[in-house]
């Protein structure tokens, strides 16, 4: 794998032209049928979802959509969902469970949208209930962090039995700019923040937050997308196959997330 600073990976993860959810759906799946709308309020294009075949098996696919052109970026709100996006995701996850389909998600968002209407319609509640629902799904779920894994807005699609991550993707509690501005009141120190935050795929593998890192072409995913589709396909199939045999997928997922920070927290008990 290429030797890069965290800051360089942040730039690659955000780079225009990097394959996104729509590309992965087009190249890894067949017969994709997009399902729109949350049935409550509106359609939120910043989350793309539907049903497709993966190696002949029906699956529910969901992911953040940033859009390819400026026009699409604006329609998709640069991949920053509102509550309606998460409620659509919930609707699709419930159907996946009903029809016994595995759930596959692609994560690529700067974060859930911090806007007035989003708050008015319960952004916090929408994310919380998505986390709760996804955690208890009785069908297998695999998540792939493909670009930016920004905060709770990313995690809402990430409570999966297996979490995979592209080599130059990043996943963090908030953006390095936000981190630097909160901690040092200086968003220009984002490079320094990126190093401290442990947001690279290698760091997260070590922390046990992701299960596998998917290598990218030397110069990044955008330089040879076909190779990336093949690598993601291979990793996805390798992680999904054993999950199809697990009887208690919800229990498996619970134990995985239950362990996050648990050992760390009990390490100093008796302080």
């Amino acid at each position: 794998m290429a030797d890069r600073t965290a800051e360089q990976r942040v730039a690659l993860a955000r780079r225009a032209g990097r394959p996104g959810t729509a590309d992965y759906i087009a190249h890894l799946f067949t017969d994709f049928f997009e399902c729109r709308g949350d049935r409550l309020c509106r359609e939120d294009p910043s989350i793309l979802g539907g049903v497709a075949l993966y190696y002949g098996r029906p699956v529910t696919v969901l992911g953040h959509r940033k859009g390819k052109s400026l026009e699409e970026n604006l329609t998709c709100n640069f991949g920053m969902p509102g509550p309606e996006g998460y409620r659509k995701a919930q609707r699709l996850m419930k159907q996946a469970e009903k029809f016994r389909r595995p759930v596959i998600t692609f994560i690529d968002t700067p974060g859930a949208y911090p806007g007035l209407e989003a708050e008015a319609r319960g952004q916090g509640e929408a994310i919380a209930s998505t986390l709760a629902l996804m955690s208890a799904l009785t069908v297998p779920a695999v998540a792939v962090v493909t670009g930016e894994g920004g905060s709770g807005g990313a995690l809402a699609l990430g409570v999966a039995n297996a979490v995979l991550m592209l080599e130059n993707a990043v996943y963090s509690v908030l953006s390095p700019e936000g981190f630097a501005s909160i901690l040092w009141k200086d968003s220009a120190r984002s490079g320094e923040a990126a190093e401290l935050m442990k947001l690279t795929a290698a760091d997260l593998l070590e922390l046990g937050v992701v299960d596998a890192v998917i290598p990218e072409p030397e110069e990044g995913a955008h330089t040879a997308p076909e190779a990336v589709y093949a690598a993601v396909d291979q990793a996805l199939a390798a992680h999904l196959t054993p999950l199809l045999k697990i009887r208690d997928c919800a229990g498996h997922r619970y134990q995985k997330f239950r362990a996050m920070g648990a050992l760390a927290a009990s390490g100093r008990e008796g302080l």
Partner: protein, 288 residues
């Protein structure tokens, strides 16, 4: 094992800790000049009024032990996971020192206190976030404490009450802080599917990852008057949309109007409201 002497000792300890909270610098500052109306309120009067400003009704943040002493029956308090603390898992510079300083200043080991106790004779598990400790931000230990409180309630078939007050993520714990959102939500979902009863109480201020996880998953959701409750903080929203936010935006009353809160309950009525809710959801009162 629970003999009378033990209970008395625990009670004295809680009383000591809540008295200490009544003397904290935050309380002294509020007494000097209420941030809501500017009035100077004698400390004793503020304490008598449960730290609600008698002039403007502003509900000032209070410490976790003080909160517990206001809602639990006398001699019923038993703290859970008292010594649970998080190490500096990411080796974040300066984090250890800051933790140490906060522990000294507040008498808390982490930003939440969990306890088992009774309200009007009904047993429950209560977990209280304390904004004096890193703004009640959710690190591994806080997430673990909340999760253990949920699991304890599930194991002993008790109702659960969580008082939230949080600035969001614990920056110094990075991604591990984020993962606590999944962990706590997953535990509550299990608890819920097992028939557990959970009351979430929003207090001022609750934002970020706590709003977007356990605080928003109550069977019943209460809020203290005037509390700031949101996912994104008001400043971030203003920067994003480039406008000033309307008055009352993200306050308890706004959330109630938009359908996210069952009831706004003033501090002085909270104990009675909780007691009634526990009675209404008592297992003996359930059919089927």
């Amino acid at each position: 094992m629970d003999n009378h002497l033990f209970l008395q000792r625990r009670e004295r300890l809680m009383a000591l800790k809540s008295r200490r909270e009544g003397k904290s610098p935050q309380v002294r500052a509020v007494a000097g000049k209420c941030p809501g109306c500017g009035a100077a309120i004698p400390k004793a009067e503020l304490a008598k009024n449960l730290y609600v400003c008698p002039e403007c009704g502003r509900h000032h943040p209070i410490g976790a032990y003080l909160r517990l002493s206001l809602i639990l029956d006398p001699n019923s308090f038993r703290e859970l996971d008292e010594r649970l603390a998080a190490p500096n898992a990411l080796n974040f510079p300066g984090y250890d020192d800051k933790l140490k300083a906060l522990r000294r200043a507040t008498g808390l080991t982490e930003g939440a206190v969990s306890a088992r106790g009774r309200i009007d004779g009904r047993e429950c598990v209560a977990c209280v976030l304390d904004s004096r400790f890193f703004m009640g931000s959710m690190g591994s230990a806080l997430g673990e404490k909340v999760t253990r409180a949920v699991e304890h309630a599930q194991k002993y078939k008790l109702p659960l009450i969580i008082f939230s007050a949080s600035g969001g993520a614990r920056m110094q714990e990075g991604i591990l802080s984020l993962m606590q959102m999944a962990k706590t939500s997953a535990a509550l979902e299990r608890f819920s599917r097992a028939g557990g009863f959970y009351i979430s109480v929003f207090t001022h201020p609750t934002t970020g990852g706590v709003t977007a996880s356990f605080a928003s998953l109550g069977d019943i959701t209460l809020a203290e008057p005037g509390a700031l409750i949101g996912f994104a903080g008001p400043r971030v929203i203003e920067q994003t949309i480039g406008e000033k936010l309307p008055d009352g935006f993200q306050r308890s009353e706004y959330l109630e109007e938009h359908g996210f809160v069952d009831a706004i309950v003033p501090r002085g009525e909270l104990r009675a409201a909780l007691a009634r809710l526990l009675m209404l959801h008592e297992r003996g009162n359930r059919r089927g």
